[in-house]
Symmetry: C2
Subunit: 204 residues, 2 copies
DNA sequence: TAGATTGTTAATCGATTAACAATC
DNA sequence: TAGATTGTTAATCGATTAACAATC
């Protein structure tokens, strides 16, 4: 029986992965929990506890092998086997993501964008085509993307979220400023305004 | 003596604010911690505890006055008195923010964008001008913005962050995929790839 | 081998939830 | 007044840190 891992732990994993990736690029072969903790501003204890939720990746007296740990983290996060995504709403944010964001690096392949605006339909960004929103349902049935990225206006967020889940999507990356909640469907919220308000509080 | 508030509490405040704002727009005058908790998927106890870090805004037997609570939250977060911001790096994400993001709604006034690319220098988005990066230092000394928004490539993130802090900026909204850390300067990270990796994990 | 560092158990700390007297 | 709901204290729960035996 799998024990469930707390979200606190899971939220730290991508950060571990990112730093370990940097270390590997910098040509570092091994790192101790102590040194990694220093780098990240955490305790060595916490890092060891976190990693040991998934297995003993280290070696007494030595520490962790950087490349091995990177691969283990990639596997835990599931970014080793590429998943698929569609992006819904090719406005400014949607466009910025299509042009800029390294989907591969986070374990995803972007299959298509969707919009209803004729100005963007048919255009291509980084090799990904923007299709007519009306074709979406058919596309989803055929291609079965794992997740949908919602970069649409907030007033249609709930409806579109329901639609994509009905079409079989298993997760949502939500850029609309609405707290979506759908039973059994993981949703990651990117609430930029919440983030900025938090900064506002801290700046006082 | 001010007691410090835990970041867990602070992170929830913008969400409270957002929902209370919605309630006000929907014409709701009062709400109990119980009803608000239901709406947010939290416990009534937690909401009362959180709000009572800042004061007793409710009334026994009645609940909370929506408009009053909204104003109290705005004051706590500091979004009632407008702060100022500059945006550094007018690439795709920077542009998307300038065009789309409701800075006023989060308590900020965007003063200017900066870039070194001649294609964007001189352009205006939503009434905000993009200036030459070389003018930045002079601009900062004159206008003293409260925060800087970093939408620049990751390899220059640390240097630019140091520069703006030296120029007197009191907070950073960091969109670069780097964990910046500067003594005594609050930094809010928007790590999109971390967010997507977390979703990747949860989708499995 | 001796030194280093892990994996893991135990102790501590902090955050959430429950309970209830105060009071509108 | 009686009912509702707060503010706040106490109890619980979970997450972080400390400690140390195991072992490379």
């Amino acid at each position: 029986m799998e024990k469930t891992i707390s979200t606190a732990v899971i939220k730290r994993l991508p950060r571990y992965y990112r730093h370990i990736q940097d270390l590997e690029k910098a040509g570092v072969f091994r790192i101790s929990s102590k040194d990694l903790a220093n780098k990240l501003g955490l305790t060595a204890s916490q890092i060891r506890q976190d990693l040991n939720c998934f297995g003993g990746f280290g070696q007494q007296g030595y520490g962790y092998n950087v490349t091995n740990l990177k691969e283990q983290l990639a596997e835990i996060l599931g970014i080793d086997k590429s998943k698929t995504a569609v992006l819904i709403g090719v406005g400014n944010i949607g466009k910025a993501l299509m042009k800029n964001f390294d989907f591969e690096g986070s374990g995803f392949k972007l299959l298509a964008g969707f919009d209803t605006n004729p100005d963007v339909i048919g255009r291509e960004f980084e090799g990904v085509r923007v299709l007519d929103g009306h074709e979406m349902k058919a596309f989803m049935q055929k291609n079965k993307p794992d997740i949908a990225i919602l970069t649409i206006p907030r007033h249609i967020a709930a409806v579109v979220a329901k639609d994509v889940v009905d079409s079989g999507v298993r997760g949502i990356w939500n850029f609309t400023n609405v707290d979506l909640h759908i039973e059994n469907v993981p949703i990651e919220h990117v609430h930029l305004s919440d983030s900025l308000m938090t900064l506002c509080y801290n700046v006082e």
